[in-house]
């Protein structure tokens, strides 16, 4: 062990770490405080004497109530959830099959195909949204959830494929060969032997894909137009700001509620999420 003096540990470890924690979490805390603060307390001059700047003397749930009753927020939550789940399933399906093919099968152009799938992973949505909007319109998909369900996989599949390909490569080939000697077809061995072993990898990819599609903004902003069809990020931006007026209480309540589902999924599967995160980079 490398032994340290006590004061050194404070200076080099506890203090910086505490600063990191405060810096990282303060915006969330502020989001929360704003969401439960009554308007009268919110819009007060920055120099006014405020007895409890970091807490509120009269916590209220009004902003949440207004958000849920006066806007289509619950509908946005459901839209986001539905779109995220379906596009994650599509991406996992494609990623599983493609990842297996690239990891295990020998066919011409395998290398080129693997590289080009990787390259599409690096094509940002902001490069394509203008022509895609046109294509979506031509396919008559504009303003439907399918516009997003079909386009989100474009950035989810490459990532799922690469993650799962890496995972499949760690599974010994002998397992599959044994199954085939016992009479399983190639396809059967893949589905019954390899996929079940890859469940942790599938979970990582799925959770990561879910949070990515929950986060997506620009496609949702461009492809959807009616308020009741929107996803949470777009709905919050376009419907909770009327003209130049920001309803900060409602906005922060919306931000909080819109973050909770991903935060919950994440907190249950931190380890898988981290695998997805680091795996996607190493792939």
């Amino acid at each position: 062990m490398i032994i340290e003096r006590r004061w050194k540990k404070w200076v080099y470890f506890y203090i910086p770490l505490t600063l990191f924690v405060i810096g990282t979490l303060f915006p969330f805390y502020w989001m929360f405080v704003t969401a439960i603060r009554p308007d009268a307390e919110l819009y007060r001059s920055w120099r006014a004497v405020n007895n409890a700047p970091f807490w509120t003397l009269a916590p209220t749930l009004d902003h949440f109530r207004d958000l849920l009753n006066k806007t289509t927020f619950p509908q946005w939550l459901w839209n986001t959830f539905f779109i995220a789940v379906v596009s994650t399933i599509i991406s996992l399906f494609c990623g599983l099959l493609a990842g297996y093919a690239l990891a295990r099968l020998k066919f011409p152009m395998a290398g080129t195909l693997g590289t080009s799938i990787f390259v599409t992973y690096l094509v940002p949505p902001t490069l394509l949204f203008i022509p895609l909007a046109d294509i979506i319109r031509n396919f008559q998909l504009g303003n439907t959830p399918w516009a997003l369900i079909l386009t989100y996989p474009t950035f989810l599949i490459p990532f799922c494929t690469w993650l799962l390909m890496g995972y499949f490569k760690t599974i010994p080939k002998e397992l599959e060969e044994c199954a085939r000697i016992d009479g399983a077809t190639r396809f059967g061995a893949m589905v019954r032997i390899i996929f079940p072993i890859a469940v942790p990898g599938i979970l990582s990819a799925g959770i990561f894909a879910f949070t990515l599609s929950w986060n997506e903004f620009i496609y949702a902003l461009v492809f959807l137009s009616s308020p009741e069809k929107k996803t949470v990020p777009v709905g919050v931006v376009s419907e909770l700001i009327r003209g130049d007026i920001y309803f900060w209480g409602q906005l922060m309540a919306g931000a909080l509620l819109g973050s909770i589902p991903v935060a919950v999924v994440y907190s249950f599967f931190v380890e898988y999420y981290v695998t997805g995160l680091t795996g996607s980079v190493k792939g």
Partner: protein, 323 residues
């Protein structure tokens, strides 16, 4: 009989012939039997991916290039205009500002994310009580939808009710309000801060994963040799961490360079178009104004930079594979 076992996936057809003729066991002949052919199976497995990516990446890309060379706008089928849109964008002072803003923003945000992320990773790599919960909470900015957390920041930077102004004022560091988002230069720095806040966890967690693969004996050995903490980092940790760092930086550069939502929410490109990035300006021209051709041309300006970054990354991956 030795061949089928050692043959592996590479000799699939050979495996089958040997098995079938030896009669030890016979693969079932079901409706899926054509899938025993490796090439055919690969084709079938890859088809959904290729179709989706072809339809929603390759096709839009080609179409984007065509749009950028045409005078198309909403409700108006354009005609071929050559490089007109690109020349026009390059002579447009707002575009130039946006282009330099993008480079400035990417450069500084990457430097900050890397430095702070590395520092945080080194802190998290030590053992302490509550490590799991601290590590989990550190990733929160990365999980929460960017648009939503950026709203929290926008509220913290609010011209009239900024909590940061309040804090700095109370701490005696300022006497008048800082114009966080109402001044172009301040606005860019605010965006860099928010981007750093959001992207740092990604660096920290990935670098932490890299750190954990480093054998602690190496550190012990070098400290016995008299190396101090800085030397240990510079001569032991950093060389081993370089490959993963490079990959993370490449990913982050691509994401930051093509960023849209953060600026869209934080400043909307204002004040007076001073904080536009390439992507937000392309949105303003292409979608808000409806000049599809010009918008497509503007967003294609991202391509050379992205191309360079991807090319470097691929070259690096190749080098890793060959060694």
């Amino acid at each position: 009989m030795k061949k089928p076992i050692a043959g592996g996936a590479g000799a699939a057809t050979g495996v089958e012939v040997t098995l079938a003729s030896s009669g030890v066991s016979r693969p079932r002949r079901g409706p899926l039997s054509p899938l025993e052919n490796e090439r055919l199976l690969a084709g079938v497995l890859l088809a959904p991916t290729i179709v989706l990516l072809g339809m929603f990446i390759a096709y839009p890309f080609v179409m984007g290039v065509w749009l950028s060379l045409s005078s198309t706008s909403v409700g108006n089928v354009g005609h071929f205009v050559g490089a007109h849109n690109f020349v026009k964008a390059w002579n447009d002072s707002i575009f130039r500002t946006a282009f330099w803003n993008t480079c400035w923003y990417t450069g500084w945000a990457t430097v900050f994310k890397l430095t702070l992320g590395m520092w945080l990773a080194l802190l998290l790599n030590r053992s302490f009580r509550g490590k799991r919960i601290v590590r989990a909470s550190m990733l929160l900015p990365f999980i929460v939808p960017t648009v939503l957390s950026t709203f929290a920041w926008r509220w913290m930077f609010d011209p009239t009710f900024s909590v940061l102004n309040w804090l700095l004022f109370r701490a005696g560091m300022i006497t008048t309000k800082l114009p966080f988002l109402s001044d172009g230069d301040y606005g860019m720095w605010c965006a860099i801060v928010v981007n750093t806040w959001r992207g740092m966890p990604f660096f920290a967690i990935t670098l932490l994963a890299g750190l954990q693969t480093i054998n602690p004996d190496l550190h012990e050995a070098s400290s016995l040799d008299g190396a101090n903490a800085w030397h240990r980092f510079w001569h032991v940790t950093w060389p081993l961490l370089k490959p993963v760092t490079l990959v993370v930086v490449v990913f982050s550069v691509i994401q930051t360079f093509s960023d849209f939502q953060l600026i869209y929410v934080l400043t909307g490109g204002g004040p007076a178009n001073a904080t536009h990035l390439i992507a937000t300006y392309a949105y303003q021209v292409g979608v808000a104004t409806g000049l599809l051709g010009e918008g497509a041309a503007i967003s294609l300006f991202m391509l050379p930079v992205l191309f360079l970054v991807v090319w470097l990354q691929l070259r690096y991956l190749r080098r890793l594979e060959t060694t």
